[in-house]
């Protein structure tokens, strides 16, 4: 048995200075945008990537979409290495994996009409025999995202539509090629609060209907709880906790997850709140602490956290945590420094 998507020790580094001097001096300062992310996703599953801004969520998504090339590690889709795909294999991968952009106002070419934008995937993948058939498909796609009647949108330009309508068009475009995996990067963060639920319900309904595998990226735990069965919490380019969504949110194990969950506003004012305070700000991602990335801010920091990086290992209830509070996470040998994290 193999998983649909298998991400293993994924890393993306950006050189900070690429000048002659630093090359001579040998001091290679790099930003670790993604620093060893591993997870698997089965067909039909839905994964939520949560975390604050700058923790590498979007970079991870762009690596999966092959908009960026990883520095190290691998992404396997249906058993094949994504980085090695080319030609028709890459085209078929592009057809199977689609992306919903964070900013719908920028995701559509301002000089294309809606019809032109939606014809583009059909032209690229040579779907449909004639222009008439393609227009029919576009009309069907707009209909499915509840933009009715579809013809009234054909000749509109993006600037003539509202944010919610634009995001529906973007969803329609992604679904036109019948993808298997749909990655959504903050799909509603640019939208008005009043229409968020509508777009989210639409996405949920469509992905159930088509048995899509989905990855949602968001800083909003409520959104992830609503949309995803599995949640991964990211901090500074690594996953610090991953498990079934209800388990992760109801019983957070990692101190960072606890802080994140406690920061979510609760609509019930009578419920007692136990805010978890965390100190300072995120360390700059080019001077990563040697040990646990969260050590400097962790309220429960121990001596071991400062020099030994915890591994992401199973704790209980299907949850895996990278924290020394859970003894299994502490590597038993010195190889534990930045050691590879095994996928399961």
């Amino acid at each position: 048995m193999s998983h649909l998507l298998e991400v293993t020790d994924l890393r993306k580094e950006y050189p900070l200075q690429s000048g002659l001097l630093s090359a001579v001096m040998g001091s290679r300062r790099v930003v670790h945008a993604v620093n060893g992310v591993s997870f698997v996703l089965d067909e039909g599953g839905s994964l939520g990537l949560a975390g604050e801004s700058g923790c590498g969520k979007t970079t991870t998504a762009k690596l999966i979409l092959r908009l960026l090339h990883p520095t190290a590690g691998s992404i396997r889709f249906a058993g094949r290495d994504v980085a090695a795909l080319d030609g028709s294999d890459l085209l078929s991968y592009r057809r199977q994996v689609q992306f919903i952009f964070q900013n719908p106002y920028e995701a559509l070419n301002p000089r294309f009409t809606i019809l032109r934008s939606l014809l583009e995937p059909l032209i690229i993948h040579e779907i449909g025999q004639s222009i008439a058939e393609r227009v029919e498909r576009v009309a069907g796609a707009l209909d499915r995202v509840h933009l009715n009647p579809p013809e009234t949108f054909f000749l509109k330009y993006p600037h003539q539509l509202s944010g919610g309508q634009l995001q529906r068009v973007v969803i329609a475009r992604a679904l036109l090629v019948d993808p298997v995996l749909l990655v959504a990067d903050e799909p509603v963060s640019m939208l008005d609060v009043s229409i968020r639920a509508g777009v989210l319900n639409l996405m949920r309904e469509l992905s159930r209907e088509r048995k899509l595998t989905t990855i949602y990226i968001s800083h909003d735990l409520a959104l992830i709880r609503y949309m995803c069965s599995v949640t991964a919490v990211m901090y500074l380019g690594t996953i610090c906790e991953i498990g079934p969504t209800e388990e992760v949110i109801e019983h957070p194990r990692h101190p960072y997850t606890q802080a994140l969950v406690s920061a979510v506003p609760d609509p019930d004012p009578t419920r007692p709140r136990r805010p978890v305070e965390i100190a300072d700000t995120v360390p700059t991602p080019f001077q990563l602490p040697a040990g646990c990335p969260f050590a400097d801010r962790c309220p429960q920091v121990m001596e071991v956290c400062r020099h030994l990086r915890p591994l992401l290992l199973p704790v209980d209830a299907g949850v895996r945590v990278a924290c020394h509070l859970y003894p299994d996470s502490t590597p038993r040998t010195a190889e534990g420094y930045g050691a590879k994290m095994e996928p399961h």
Binding site: N109, P110, T113, R116, L119, E120, I124, E136, E151, F154
Partner: protein
């Protein structure tokens, strides 16, 4: 709407989805909102009509010697009814030469500008899109082109390749693409990070398709701006080269006329009717290019308008 109704409306929808047509419509939009740009377009329109109609409208062949009734060569005549702007020292009709000069100006101006826009836009697209060593190579080439003094280089090349109007055009294309290339590159660098360009990649568009279908229409107005300026530059340069005596001796151009007038001491003889009309024509043609460019600039950078 049923699918049969949609099939009927199909031509209307597909016609409206041509992005290149859309980009060309921008020119019209520019002319409609800017009087100077409109004036520029009108000047070019008139020049175009004159150039096309020159063989029909011109009273004489501009290269022919004219004779008086008594059989003498009609040299250095002042304006009169048969010769509206007089004749040259060889008895050629100046008015006819001015009309035919529009042909040379338009051919040089538009062919050179077209070449500059095509080459500059291609260089800018490739350099900006691929970055890395492609960008490095193309931009160092642009640096070299910037380092070459324009007029001396043009004169040397034309002298070397032989005085022909096409060599003049070639030289201008080879030297003037640099500005367009630089500006388009900068624009492409910013466009390629936009989500809709990434979206094209995610949808599976090839690099060439991304460049020419998704990015190019968005830089085209900028290309047109540089193209309209290049028209003016090209006409001016052709006039300069011809005036300096490196032009095509078989083509009557306004620059050639000025040189002819200068060499035969028309200025000393106060023969204004000889050198003022071609000079005015050059000025009008160059101004028209800059007027249109100005209109584009205001459309592209609306904040300039208030200054």
């Amino acid at each position: 709407m049923s699918s049969s109704e949609r099939a009927a409306a199909l031509p209307q929808w597909t016609r409206a989805t041509s992005t290149w047509r859309d980009a060309l419509l921008v020119t019209w939009a520019v002319a409609r909102r800017d009087r100077f740009a409109l004036a520029g377009l009108v000047i070019y329109g008139v020049l175009l009509v004159v150039a096309l109609a020159a063989p029909v409208v011109a009273p004489y062949n501009p290269q022919d010697l004219n004779y008086r009734p008594d059989g003498e060569v009609a040299a250095n005549e002042v304006p009169s009814l048969p010769h509206w702007l007089g004749t040259t020292n060889l008895g050629r009709d100046i008015f006819s030469q001015v009309l035919f000069g529009a042909r040379a100006a338009l051919v040089v101006g538009f062919v050179a500008a077209f070449g500059v826009v095509v080459l500059g836009t291609l260089v800018g697209l490739f350099a900006g899109y691929y970055s890395g060593w492609v960008d490095m190579l193309l931009m160092r080439l642009a640096d070299v082109a910037f380092g070459i003094p324009f007029l001396p280089m043009a004169i040397v090349l034309v002298a070397f390749l032989g005085p022909s109007i096409w060599n003049t055009v070639l030289v201008m294309v080879l030297l003037l693409w640099r500005d367009t290339g630089r500006v388009i590159r900068a624009q492409v660098l910013s466009l390629r990070t936009r989500s809709y360009v990434e979206a094209a990649r995610v949808l599976g568009a090839s690099h060439l398709r991304t460049m020419f279908v998704h990015i190019a229409p968005n830089v085209l107005p900028l290309s047109f701006l540089y193209g309209s300026l290049a028209v003016g530059w090209a006409i001016l340069t052709e006039a300069t080269i011809s005036f300096l005596g490196f032009g095509d001796p078989n083509v009557i151009s306004w620059g050639f006329m000025l040189q002819d007038a200068y060499n035969s001491q028309a200025m000393a003889r106060h023969a204004f009717y000889w050198f003022v009309p071609p000079g005015l024509c050059i000025m009008l043609a160059v101004m028209a290019g800059f007027f249109i460019g100005r209109g584009y600039e205001e459309l592209l950078f609306p904040r300039l308008r208030r200054r």
